[in-house]
Amino acid sequence: MGRKTEITNLLAHLPRLGVGLAYRESFRDELLHHQSEVDFVEIIGDHYIDAPPERMDELALLSEHFTILPHFTNLSLGTAEGIDPVYLEKIANLIRRLNPPWWSEHIGFTRAGGIHLGQSAPLPFTQEAVEVMTKNIITARRAIATPLMLENVCSPLAWPGGEMDEPTFISEVLRSGGTGLLLDVSSLLNHAVNLGGTPATFLEKLPLDRVVQVHFSGGQDACGQLVESRAHPIPEALWQLLDDAVARAPVRCICLERDDVLPPLSEMLGEVERARAIGRQHQRWS
């Protein structure tokens, strides 16, 4: 069996989770009241590394009620200095504890020259960057058997000296690392606005058979420019792109992300329901 068939078979056997929310402490109690309306909860895994016992109690409470998907930012898989083995071990411990169907990180880097950026920075689209990502992904996969999904990042910055376009770069990383894709459709839309191009062309060129999870969120930042920020209601163009992606890719789940100023949970639950209907319409779940 070829490597591509092997990975797509593995991805095809992942559970169909439905639609969930990126967790925020501020809506914990309300969320527990509306448990039946949310199919899973995504947590920022980094927030539970070196965390106090109270934080771990909260995680235990969440895992009693929901499937938990841990999403990480600070492993910095794109860092040329190599990933931090101590941090990797801590992530592995957390994943062992949660036993999720998969975990996720980003196609980018957050650490370089002793500086921790706290948000994924883009990589140049070069063979060297593909090799760095691949080496780090293999190290991570050796430590963590749970399947890994990688997310596309949005950035206002485009590196000079690119040897390929971004969709090709993403495809190469996923192929050589043997991972699935966490497709952030909001990033895709913002990216197209920031750097030119259309999200439809971008989507067309991605290996859609590898999409396992989709992120979607609002799209305006405090500077009034489109960047990856999740404080605003979902615009219609994004619903359209979400529909398009779910129609074409074998997604197992959709996760609504919100940052900054959170709207009332009822508003987010309405968006969750609308996304669930999109998945149902394309037979991604019943």
């Binding site: 040329a80 200095e81 650490r111 020259g113 500086i115 206002p156 000079p160 960047v227 900054d260």
Partner: protein
């Protein structure tokens, strides 16, 4: 390796305002001094880099605001202005809680040199910083003596009131754990 140098350069440019301005004055010289030989970031990336730096600052601000909710409410829109003055250099630690503690140190300095209104906002910032130390750092016992009515102010801000007046009154705050694995206890009067 070229990529390691490029990433180091980008991390510095995105997080250090003074370094960014030096770079824009003469990108080729700075890139060479960082050891870069190939095609590097240049003047044409100036606006993209500034925008990326704003994105990073915005993310740091959101995380720190969440860790210092009372201070945020007390200072209102000035919280963001003061934070932007602070975040012109990279965060000192690796975690948001360390960034929040760095910002409270900045607020203390700012209050000492230029003053901070309302005066009680600094007491709330010091209170929340102590809470972060007790929660996130391995401190088994944290004690603060603060010159304002922290409990009363917290209650007012929690329901959305804007406290008027000086609220001068001594507050004593204590956090403790009996062991590193036990739950945090708090006492405030």
């Amino acid at each position: 390796m070229e990529l390691a140098l490029q990433q180091k350069l980008l991390a510095q440019l995105a997080s250090d305002r003074a370094f960014r301005e030096t770079f824009f004055a003469d990108p080729a010289r700075v890139a060479a001094s960082e050891g870069l030989t190939g095609e590097a970031l240049s003047q044409s990336h100036c606006e993209q880099l500034r925008q990326f730096a704003r994105v990073l600052q915005h993310r740091r601000l959101a995380q720190v605001g969440e860790l210092l909710p009372l201070t945020h409410k007390a200072l209102g829109t000035r919280f963001a202005d003061l934070f932007h003055n602070y975040a012109i250099t990279p965060p000192s630690g690796t975690r948001p809680c360390e960034d929040a503690l760095g910002f409270v140190r900045h607020l203390k300095q700012h209050a000492a040199t230029e003053g901070l209104e309302p005066e009680w906002s600094l007491s709330l910032a010091r209170y929340e910083a102590a809470q972060i130390e007790a929660t996130w750092l391995d401190e088994r016992l944290v004690f603060r003596c603060l010159p304002h009515a922290v409990r009363k102010l917290s209650a007012l801000l929690a329901v959305g009131d804007v406290p008027a007046g000086s609220y001068r009154r001594l507050s004593l705050a204590l956090w403790w754990r009996t062991s590193t694995r036990s739950r945090l206890k708090h006492w405030l009067r």
